[in-house]
């Protein structure tokens, strides 16, 4: 009885040990390689859940199945046009061949070191064999927009719809030369991925993408860029001010011109009206008076006497005058 009890206890413990060693749980986001005394068995497990194995003989090694991040340390790289920039990249990668991965780099730490050298190298190659703009811009959208805008302004200008200020505004936006790009930012990253892909495949790694996270000027270059920006802004401000002064002078000129025109035209018109009226009056007089010029002379003279001789005038009248005819 005692023995059988002990035996059962032993059996239970043994079964538990063997049982717990004959399966493994693979959580979501993981994959595993089963090895038999160090020798890999099968191609690895990627399906999450409960899996069976031979107890004690089989060992399970887990690796990540998820998309992993890689963060490169910023590099100082000169571009083809000799501009010194700092390039900071990140990448996303995935273990697609767990066996190869374990054999070549063992674990994620080992992988990181290899990815560092591979991606840094290719990034350096690609960046340094292209001009800076290729890493900054992704399209020639700026140039196209500018072209379109210029055409629009030209068109309007021909129709006489816009003043010079609008033309200036287009010019003002462009500071320096806008270079045309051949590839652009996205394609540069793709180029890096393409080149690195094969080397990483050998490690059981699939490179999903590489992002040029930050591209900035080197500190010493930065100062110069700032100085350039300042001088550009100053030039623009100067231009705007002088345009303002020009516009002002133009308006003042227009003022003088319009004022003279208005005043002289009014004078001209008034004089014409007066002249015409006087002519008309003359004609009226002439027409009426030619009927009896002598009588008119007489009657008008009398009227003129009446009007021209004032109250305090001295008047010496000869007794021989017509008026005094009967006085004598």
């Amino acid at each position: 009885m005692k023995n059988s009890f002990k035996f059962i206890l032993f059996l239970v413990v043994a079964l538990l040990l063997v049982g717990s060693n004959s399966f493994y749980i693979l959580t979501e986001g993981q994959q595993a390689i089963v090895t038999q005394f160090g020798k890999p068995i099968g191609k690895g497990t990627t399906e999450a859940g409960l899996h069976f194995k031979l107890p004690f003989m089989h060992k399970v090694r887990y690796v990540d199945k998820r998309i992993l991040s890689w963060d490169g340390s910023p590099n100082q790289i000169p571009t083809r046009d000799k501009k010194y920039i700092r390039v900071d990249t990140t990448a996303r990668w995935k273990i697609v061949d767990a066996l190869k991965f374990i054999q070549t780099v063992q674990n994620e730490r080992g992988a990181k070191a290899r990815i560092d050298t591979i991606l840094d190298g290719h990034t350096r190659d690609v960046i340094s064999s292209h001009n800076l703009v290729e890493a900054v811009r992704n399209s020639n959208q700026i140039l196209e927009n500018l072209e379109r805008k210029k055409e629009l302004v030209q068109e309007k200008k021909q129709k006489g719809e816009v003043a010079d200020a609008a033309v200036l505004e287009v010019e003002e936006e462009v500071s320096g030369e806008i270079e045309k790009i051949q590839l652009g930012r996205e394609q540069l990253s793709e180029l890096i991925v393409e080149k690195a892909d094969e080397e990483l495949k050998a490690l059981g790694i699939d490179l999903i993408d590489l992002q040029l996270r930050r591209i900035s000027y080197e500190k010493s270059v930065e100062e110069k860029v700032y100085d350039r920006m300042i001088s550009e802004r100053q030039r623009v401000a100067q231009k705007i001010r002088s345009i303002g002064k020009g516009e002002k002078a133009e308006i003042e000129g227009r003022l003088a011109k319009d004022l003279n025109k208005i005043e002289s035209e009014a004078y001209k018109k008034a004089q014409l009206i007066r002249g015409k009226a006087q002519a008309k009056a003359t004609a009226i007089y002439a027409k009426s008076l030619t009927k009896a010029p002598d009588f008119y002379e007489f009657i008008r003279s009398l009227e003129a006497y009446k009007k021209s001789i004032k109250k305090d005038s001295k008047f010496i009248l000869s007794s021989e005058s017509e008026f005094m005819k009967y006085f004598q």
Binding site: R66, S175, I284
Partner: protein
């Protein structure tokens, strides 16, 4: 049987008895404990702002909604709760320092690296922005990528630089804001969809967008210049508007006056002509006597008005001294 045997047997029996007695108390205790643990780990609640991912023996089983749910205890079912209803926010180029004070405070110290970026014309702009996202698929969010939040940050920085890199610095600082945010949101979603990580970008909002501090003054100066330009033009226009309408009015006045004069001259001429015609009509009937009458009447009127009339007899000579002494001859 042996003499000592019963003793031993008895001892053993006693031991067994006590063990059995103890077992009888022990087993229910263990069973009760197991039941209690099983009971307390067999349910879980999901809060209203969450969803829960259930993993059974490592394998994805279900995503459960808010409420009370049951699960298999003892680590068979594992439940991971994810805040799916909450809009999460990532800040770039600045950090919200404190929401406790009355006014939210921000810090942008040492984040130049994050916010400084090159524009399409190879200038530099400082852009601060916010990405708001929601977890649209909690399972994918948990198990598709190892560092989902870092992916969001990396991609957002990269995309923002790509969008800004395609625009001029002046546009970035002024009219481009809305376009940048929209483009960045769309592109970012595209990249995240490629990772299939269960994240939905709700919005990207640009915060402060400035030129680098060192060049800020010169950018402001351009704005000032624009203001000055406008002011100058306005002043000139103002002067123009002050003078010209007045001049137009005056011109109209001048013409109107001339027109009035013209009317008057013509009317007077016509009046005079008519009057003359009328007089003449009567005069012609008796010219001599009328002429005389008119002459006398005029003279009469004239002389009666005058205060100083001297009549000189043509026969009187050497009259001159009389003059100037104020001798007046009243009529």
């Amino acid at each position: 049987m042996n003499q000592g045997q019963p003793d031993l047997n008895y001892e053993l029996y006693k031991l067994k008895q006590s063990f059995n007695r103890n077992k009888k108390a022990f087993v229910p205790l263990i069973v009760a404990l197991l039941l209690a643990v099983g009971f307390f780990t067999s349910y879980y609640t999901v809060e209203p702002d969450e969803e829960a991912v259930v993993i059974r023996l490592g394998r994805y089983l279900d995503t459960t909604q808010p409420g009370l749910h049951f699960k298999i205890p003892f680590g068979v079912d594992r439940v991971i709760k994810v805040k799916t209803k909450i809009v999460h926010q990532e800040e770039f180029g600045f950090r919200t320092q404190s929401l406790d004070t009355r006014r939210t405070t921000y810090s942008s110290r040492n984040l130049d690296e994050e916010s400084l970026m090159l524009t399409g014309d190879l200038n530099v702009a400082e852009v601060q922005w916010v990405v708001q996202y929601q977890i649209s698929d909690p399972f994918k969010f948990l198990f598709k990528t190892s560092e989902p939040v870092r992916n969001i940050r990396d991609v957002s920085e990269s995309i923002m630089r790509r969008v800004v890199g395609d625009i001029m610095v002046t546009e970035v600082l002024t009219t481009g804001r809305v376009g940048i945010a929209g483009d960045a949101k769309q592109l970012m979603q595209e990249v995240l969809d490629k990772y299939d990580m269960g994240v939905l970008i709700r919005s990207i909002k640009l915060q402060d967008v400035n030129p680098p501090k060192k060049v800020q003054a010169s950018f402001n100066d351009v704005n000032a210049a624009k203001q000055e330009q406008e002011k100058m033009i306005n002043q000139a226009e103002q002067a123009y508007n002050k003078v010209i309408p007045e001049a137009r009015g005056k011109a109209k006045k001048l013409v109107s006056e001339a027109q009035g004069y013209a009317q008057a001259v013509v009317n007077r001429a016509e009046g005079d002509a008519d009057r003359f015609s009328e007089i003449y009509r009567e005069y012609i009937k008796a010219p001599a006597i009328t002429k005389k009458r008119l002459y006398l009447e005029t003279m009469e009127e004239l002389f009666s008005k005058l205060e100083d009339v001297v009549i000189i007899d043509s026969k009187v000579k050497g009259l001159l001294p009389v003059f100037g002494k104020g001798i007046t001859n009243e009529k």
